[in-house]
């Protein structure tokens, strides 16, 4: 099983930067997410998670540091959170950190992800 390293691109579409490490179980998605084929892009990440859960069975730490994501991306983010929730329910050790621009609205958005998935997410405000 291999790490995932995707360098973020801000061109016509915005690809987020992705770093998923097998050795540590540390996963980070940062930058901006607005893609041509959103589901396809995230399917690869989810596949990686499922494989890690099945084979490595180690802890997973997720850092979400997205400054922008469109609504299609938000659906895929919920899918990622669902996988994490299921892993936790099955006894897996997880930690989820969500870095957000320190505004009421962004905070609401994280809170809604928490309500939506039933997952404990650490809300970490960053100054803009």
């Amino acid at each position: 099983m291999e790490d995932i390293h995707i360098e973020g691109v801000h061109e016509a579409f915005f690809t987020p930067t992705v770093n998923f490490e097998v050795a540590t179980g540390h996963c980070e998605i940062s930058g901006e997410s607005y893609l041509e084929e959103t589901s396809k892009f995230y399917a690869r990440l989810i596949e990686w998670m499922k494989k890690y859960i099945a084979e490595v069975k180690g802890p997973l730490t997720f850092d979400f540091k997205l400054s922008y994501f469109n609504t299609s991306s938000s659906k895929c983010l919920v899918d990622i959170l669902d996988v994490l929730k299921k892993y936790q329910n099955d006894g897996g050790k997880i930690e989820v950190n969500w870095y957000y621009d320190d505004t009421e609205e962004e905070l609401e958005e994280v809170e809604d992800f928490i309500l939506e998935t039933g997952l404990d997410i650490n809300k970490i405000p960053i100054e803009i």
Partner: protein, 206 residues
């Protein structure tokens, strides 16, 4: 003196040309159009929409909304991204690129009205497709912020239907703008209408 004389000559010429419009459709109201745009309009685009147009118009919008504070600008950007994508993906009027790619056509406008900006999109829609969208907009406008957030959570859970993602987009837009969606539907034929969405964003957001 010399210049004045010339002006008169041209004034005559202009009038002549104005009356001689080749097919009665020339010059129409380009001035009126530009003027209307100029009063309050900072950027306007009508035509095919793809990622390049989104990018360059998005950049332009960011540039011209310099009276807005950073939070307002970030809101405008998000709203632009959602609404422009809706036009691109769902417009009933489209064109094909040489490579056979289908692009939705529509209008994107950012205007300045007093202490707020207004972002407007418009495109042709099939009446059969738009009815549920209008209903969605009415629901969105009737909900308070907390109910709207609940509605977003609900909608996000409703499978990966492409059409549905446009609806979340509208909820997202209303939540971001903190103002209702000003929608307008004008029939253009028996089964098509022109659908426009306008959203107001305050220049100074706390």
């Amino acid at each position: 003196m010399h210049k004045n004389k010339k002006c008169t000559k041209f004034a005559k010429n202009i009038k002549r040309i104005g009356m001689e419009k080749l097919d009665g459709k020339y010059d129409f109201s380009l001035y009126e159009y530009h003027n209307l745009l100029q009063q309050n309009i900072l950027v306007s685009y009508k035509g095919p929409i793809d990622e390049r147009i989104m990018n360059v118009i998005g950049d332009n919008i960011e540039l011209v909304t310099n009276d807005g504070n950073d939070k307002a600008k970030s809101k405008i950007f998000k709203i632009f991204m959602e609404l422009a994508q809706n036009v691109w993906l769902y417009s009933a009027e489209s064109c094909k690129t040489a490579s056979g790619r289908k692009l939705g056509m529509g209008t994107l406008v950012i205007g300045e009205f007093g202490d707020s900006y207004t972002f407007v999109t418009g495109n042709v829609v099939r009446n059969s497709d738009i009815e549920p969208v209008i209903e969605k907009c009415e629901i969105i406008n009737s909900l308070d912020r907390d109910s709207l957030r609940e509605y977003r959570r609900e909608q996000r859970r409703l499978g990966g239907d492409k059409k549905n993602s446009g609806n979340i987009g509208l909820i997202q837009v209303a939540l971001t703008a903190e103002s209702p969606l000003d929608i307008e539907l004008t029939p253009v034929s028996d089964d098509e209408s022109f659908f426009s969405v306008a959203v107001k964003i305050k220049k100074t957001v706390n």
